[in-house]
Symmetry: C2
Subunit: 345 residues, 2 copies
């Protein structure tokens, strides 16, 4: 078995959801876009449904359709990208709730699916998705007559609690939505941690559910163990891997492990990342290749059968630091080649 | 439809295989590991089988089993990681040919599957996979008695034709295999381009088939078109995206497109990458987020419905440069969310 194992702890996931839910007095949804941040949207969403989540968010209608097939009727499935041309039939059949981002999308929705549920996404300064204040002013009355399920916006700098953009977006959201009798949502994980002013009627945590920053108290959800294919002794002066980028400076014991950038072990982390052989932290050496990585296990007392890349010893954020990115990308990059193993009590 | 389209030109793929095949007088195999470099191992391998390839290489036994199910009996499927503990049944049932990397693997193979086909991987200096000269000396006679199908090794620096490691590994390969009556293979795409000395009996191109360097004459195989969700005008001083990292310096028209790092559009390429709106090269602005990217389309004469990320205007290697990586990683990072469209004549 040369296939690496990706363990997904569904109990840790639901405990993270409960922990984030306990930080607010309002309803807590769950963001399961990008295949549940790489961990399997169907399994993740079912576990969160059992834990009490009743509203889910996905990026595109196709993700929503797959999620509806997994969850069955009942839970609300919201689509951040809204109502795109060509999606009307899928939205209707799979009972999706698009977050309408523009006048164009609103007209499309009202014309093709009159009476069908929808939310409105407002832009409070991130300039990414959602209606801007002037557009919202122009269409607000028409929109409200049709009974939106949600008015939402998204924070650009919530991971940095001191950033002046946070109160600025909060004020803009109030200005655009105060006094309207519609449920409101502004915050994902970062916003939940900014405190009650940011919670409104619904929060929508994503990365915190999956064990990533900025939720420092998150339980780790993903674990990766990679099999060792071969061990070799190399003498000082010998090189390892593509481009001869690593040269042994001492008599070294090298393990070749069966994982690589095709498994989402980002090539960029090569020079800085480590894995664990039991309790010993071992450096990744040479270039990460597509399916193989060299590891210096000279200091490990025993020869391991597998090494830990993610788990009790190392978080997604540690790996993200090594790769110069964020934990979110570590999770969504995990490839299709893992043997996936879901833990649940 | 907010899902991006990944177009895979199977005619370009097979024309790359024929072009690489024509560079040598020997047999040309095909490497289809990592799900055919992200493009779909089943479709890719079937097209290459029709084009004339009869030997395929995968990384692990599970990939081989899936490939056998797609191709049916007949073509030889070689497994680079060799014969791992627990894989004997799969190797036998799916008629896989492991490339044995060590004495351990050899004993396992001979004991559990006596008479079953195998190759031998030799380490000629990369120190990644394969038997070293001393180990090979010790087991060579036993191995040869069992009739290996192939003796192979892998070059560490073939992408750099002037690297002294190339002739060094070539000499080591000769020393380990000359005079043995077994087919030999040393070269993947880079090695093919090093010339006939490196070809032996079988070449095993990978990245060149898929349109990537170092095969400069490769036809592009992968194309990506990403839908535009929303257009907005931003005034000088306005910021776009997470962390407010981009500020408009002129009145700008921004498209939000429906793709992100969850689709393998590596977050690291954000500051340097472009997309094409018809013929206009447009800069990606702000941080690439999980499912969304901002693009400055101010200079585009028309508002696009989709933009091209990969295709006629931009190769995998251009994107790789922007991300500080190699084309291989661009391909294998392509996620599961694309609508995949296979072109074939």
């Amino acid at each position: 078995m040369a296939t690496a194992t990706l363990t997904i702890d569904l109990d840790a996931l639901t405990s993270n959801w409960h922990a984030l839910d306990s930080l607010s007095a309002c309803e807590t949804a769950a963001v399961v876009k990008a295949n549940g941040y790489g961990l399997g949207a169907d399994r993740v969403a079912k576990a969160l449904l059992d834990a009490g989540a009743r509203r889910f968010f996905v990026a595109v209608a196709e993700e929503g359709a797959a999620l509806r097939a997994a969850l069955g009727p009942g839970p609300e499935i919201n689509v951040f990208s809204g109502h795109m041309a060509g999606d009307s039939e899928m939205i209707a059949e799979m009972q999706l709730t698009p977050m309408l981002n523009s006048l164009d999308q609103m007209l499309r929705h009202f014309e093709t699916l009159p009476g069908a549920p929808f939310g409105i996404q407002l832009d409070t300064g991130m300039n990414r998705l959602g209606m801007e204040p002037a557009e919202w002013d122009a269409v607000r009355e028409i929109a409200l007559e049709q009974g939106p399920t949600l008015l939402m916006s998204h924070l650009a700098c919530a991971d940095d609690p001191e950033h002046p953009m946070n109160p600025q977006q909060l004020a803009a959201f109030h200005e655009m939505t105060d006094g309207l009798d519609v449920p409101r949502s502004l915050s994902a994980t970062g916003g939940i941690l900014l405190g009650p002013d940011y919670h409104f009627d619904l929060t929508r945590p994503g990365v915190g559910l999956y064990g990533g920053l900025p939720f420092v108290d998150a339980a780790p959800v993903a674990g990766i163990h990679v099999p060792v294919i071969q061990i070799r002794e190399v003498a000082p002066g010998e090189t390892v891997g593509y481009g001869n980028t690593w040269t042994a400076e001492r008599p070294s014991r090298i393990a070749t492990i069966s994982g690589g950038y095709a498994d989402g072990i980002l090539r960029a982390m090569g020079p800085k990342a480590h894995v664990f052989a039991a309790e010993t932290r071992c450096k990744i050496i040479g270039r990460i290749s597509m399916d193989l990585i060299g590891v210096d296990i000279t200091d490990a007392p025993d020869i391991p059968d597998t090494v830990e890349l993610l788990g009790q010893h190392q978080s997604v954020d540690t790996l993200a630091d090594a790769a110069g990115t964020i934990g979110y990308e570590i999770l969504t990059s995990l490839g299709a080649r893992y043997r996936r193993h879901y833990l649940t009590s």
